[in-house]
């Protein structure tokens, strides 16, 4: 007895909504399905592989429980790789924010040739990673034929084999060289939107240059800096080209990041199973990081 009443009401309601708004689902569906196919299927495939003993050189593949994960978490080189990723991302972030802020402040002043200087400061960002890596490896940091080696012999030092003695520092230097311009670009744009009246008022109240920087300029840069942090971390987590072109992850595991480790497992060892397990782990880590980053950024945007 109750059912028919509720039955008569519901169609009436939905009929009313139908008249007022267009059904959006059919319009969204093609895009949603494509997106699912594009992103979810490969992910599911990866998860599936991560539970298999699957080596390209040794077909066929077979389910092996969580063995790939057991091996992944008990392998000390996994933790080395994660630590290396953290060092690489953090090192590049610190360098690009510190130097990016300094360069942006300098370029914000008026001086002859400012436009050319700005262009030159931003140019490295448009050099492709492998090209940048080759330039640094062969022309700048090479102990025999590089500029750095030549400069050091000029002042009487022995040239340093950068990539074998300070491998991670070298990688961070190269990536910073590429990413400082990006930070400069964003911070410079932000500086240009800084209200000059405020600075003028502070100056008239007797605030010195350093105090104006500390209490007006830097707080104003907080928001763009958080955006730089988010974008750069996302890009740097998947950094690969420079490592591949210069050190190949070595010597030892000194520059093997999580990304490079997955590459080695998949395309050097051809062990798709363990590479997938490491890949799934990397996705989880990246999502945790992304969660906090996006929260931090949206907080600064709301403030």
């Amino acid at each position: 007895m109750i059912q028919p009443t509720s039955g008569t009401i519901t169609p009436g309601r939905s009929g009313a909504t139908q008249r007022r708004q267009v059904r959006t689902l059919p319009l969204l569906l093609p895009a949603v399905i494509l997106l699912l196919l594009w992103s979810i299927l490969p992910l599911l495939q990866t998860i599936l592989y991560s539970f298999q003993h699957y080596n390209l050189m040794e077909p066929p593949s077979a389910y092996n429980g969580g063995l790939n994960y057991t091996y992944l978490f008990t392998d000390s080189s996994t933790w080395t790789a994660i630590w290396n990723s953290v060092v690489l991302v953090a090192g590049t972030l610190v360098a690009s924010i510190v130097f990016g802020t300094i360069i942006a402040l300098l370029l914000n002043n008026d001086f002859p040739g400012r436009n050319i200087a700005r262009l030159m400061a931003i140019a490295p960002f448009f050099v492709m990673s492998p090209v940048a890596a080759l330039i640094w490896k062969n022309l700048l940091l090479d102990p025999v034929s590089g500029l750095a080696g030549w400069l050091m012999t000029l002042v009487g030092f022995k040239p340093i084999a950068w990539f074998s003695v300070y491998p991670m520092v070298s990688i961070v230097i190269i990536y910073s060289w590429r990413w400082i311009p990006f930070a400069t670009l964003i911070l410079l744009t932000a500086l240009q939107s800084l209200d000059t009246d405020q600075l003028e008022a502070a100056r008239m109240d007797g605030a010195k240059g350093l105090a104006r920087l500390r209490y007006i300029v830097l707080p104003h840069l907080g928001r763009p800096i958080s955006i730089v942090v988010m974008l750069e971390s996302i890009f740097m987590l998947s950094a690969f080209a420079v490592i591949y072109t210069t050190t190949n992850g070595g010597p030892g595991h000194a520059t093997t990041t999580l990304t490079y480790m997955i590459f080695i497992r998949a395309l050097n060892d051809f062990s798709i199973g363990s590479a997938s397990a490491a890949g799934v782990f990397a996705i989880v880590l990246a999502n945790i990081l992304a969660f906090f980053l996006i929260r931090a950024v949206s907080r600064t945007l709301q403030a």
Partner: protein
């Protein structure tokens, strides 16, 4: 684009096929590519070349065959892959070679290395062993004579006397670039001759054995004292450049370098270079390697008959003659055919020929070590896991050479990682 090409071909020539060939960007292969219009003229078969660096080639070809993609009709493979892929059924066997091909003329050790259970799976394009190169002028100036079969003790003594970094001359150049086909190819021969081995008969890694420690300490010490700076970034190509520019007193590496070093067009020291056998420490077993680059047909090819035509053409006596006439006899792909070494044109142009022949004939991949081993291969272990193992151990050796960690720590880490990989692969 493939469909378009097929469509066009269908109109122009009913029988013309296009073969896709994957090969390495080594000088000898680039010559083959340059000479291939001759093949197209003779047979009407068109060729589509995919020329890649060694590591990239290996990745592309392996993934292509393993996933049945069938992009390649002919692939370039090495002594390491052929037995493994033959066993896995990834390569089509080479059958019905015509008498004119003279298969018996191929060096037996090379032919065996390209077979699995007596069946040939690839035809050799060039083959190499390893040897010691040295600078005659520097040895003369220092009052030294290089014996025909040096020992590692002598090599160390020579390196100390010749080393003169202030003049830009380093006592001895060796491979330091990590990789199973780079530093580990050389380093494995060093371990072999010091009496070591990768695995015992139970497939347990023996990297923590005294022989490995002795070999590693010797290598690190030698290169740190008498090697060029930045050794860990020097592979075969880098050392070839260093030696041909006159920066190395000695160099132990592939015999294929001889063609470049003796050619005045590519080498500043063409008149001063000498070649003797690879040095020996405790045992001659596995002191010099054996490697062949060969052409093979993946199981996925659709043009077997046409593939065979190209395989025979590129590895034939006639091809070697064609290279000799076009580029000069010193440039002929070495190490594959006995008849090359009986050819006066070649022996005159290549004074190193007899040494190369001796090295290739005496290398024995079936007995590579002093103690018995369950594997074949002198400078590699012919199991699918070796690419991963060799790369990992290569990194550890490079870390020790760069001074990032001690030799003992590097070997301990290498032993641990190898044991792990073998366990993961189900050997234990």
């Amino acid at each position: 684009m493939g469909g378009l090409a097929l469509g066009c071909l269908g109109i122009t020539a009913a029988h013309a096929t296009t073969l896709t060939i994957a090969t390495v960007n080594n000088p000898d292969m680039l010559q083959m590519q340059k000479l291939s219009p001759q093949f197209t003229k003779e047979t009407g078969i068109k060729l589509n070349w995919v020329v890649l660096p060694e590591n990239t080639l290996r990745q592309r070809v392996t993934t292509d065959i393993a996933t049945n993609s069938g992009n390649f009709d002919i692939v370039t493979v090495g002594s390491y892959e052929v037995p493994i892929w033959g066993k896995a059924g990834w390569l089509a066997p080479i059958k019905n070679l015509p008498a004119s091909y003279d298969v018996k003329d191929l060096f037996p050790s090379v032919r065996n290395g390209l077979s699995y259970k007596g069946t040939l799976y690839a035809l050799p394009f060039y083959a190499e062993s390893s040897a010691t190169y040295y600078r005659k002028d520097l040895f003369k100036a220092a009052g030294l004579t290089m014996p025909a079969h040096p020992t590692y003790t002598e090599i160390e003594k020579f390196a100390a006397k010749i080393n003169d970094p202030s003049k830009g001359i380093y006592g001895i150049c060796l491979r330091g670039l990590p990789g199973w086909g780079e530093n580990m190819a050389y380093f494995t021969t060093l371990v072999n001759t010091f009496g070591g081995r990768w695995f015992n008969m139970k497939w347990q890694p023996r990297i923590d054995s005294p022989a490995w420690k002795k070999a590693a300490n010797f290598y690190v010490n030698l290169e740190k004292k008498y090697g060029p700076p930045n050794v860990t970034s020097n592979g075969f190509t880098e050392n070839l450049a260093l030696f041909s520019q006159g920066k190395c007193g000695m160099w132990i590496d592939s015999t294929v370098a001889a063609g470049t070093l003796w050619d005045p067009k590519t080498s500043k020291v063409a008149n001063e270079v000498g070649m003797v056998s690879a040095p020996v420490a405790v045992t001659p077993h596995g002191a010099h390697w054996l490697w062949a680059w060969a052409l093979a047909m993946p199981k996925t090819t659709r043009h077997k008959a046409d593939d065979m035509k190209f395989l025979e053409w590129a590895t034939s006596k006639a091809y070697l003659k064609l290279v000799g006439k076009t580029f000069g006899w010193v440039q002929v792909p070495p190490g594959t055919r006995i008849s090359t070494y009986d050819n006066p044109d070649y022996t005159k142009a290549a004074p190193f020929a007899s040494k190369v022949k001796e090295a290739i004939l005496s290398a024995d991949p079936n007995n590579p070590t002093l103690k018995k081993v369950p594997y074949t291969g002198v400078q590699f272990v012919a199991i699918p896991q070796f690419e991963g193992i060799g790369t990992e151990v290569g990194q550890q050796i490079a870390a020790a050479l760069a001074g990032q960690k001690s030799v003992d720590a590097a070997l301990a880490q290498a032993q641990k990682a190898t044991a792990r990989t073998m366990k993961e692969a189900g050997y234990h």
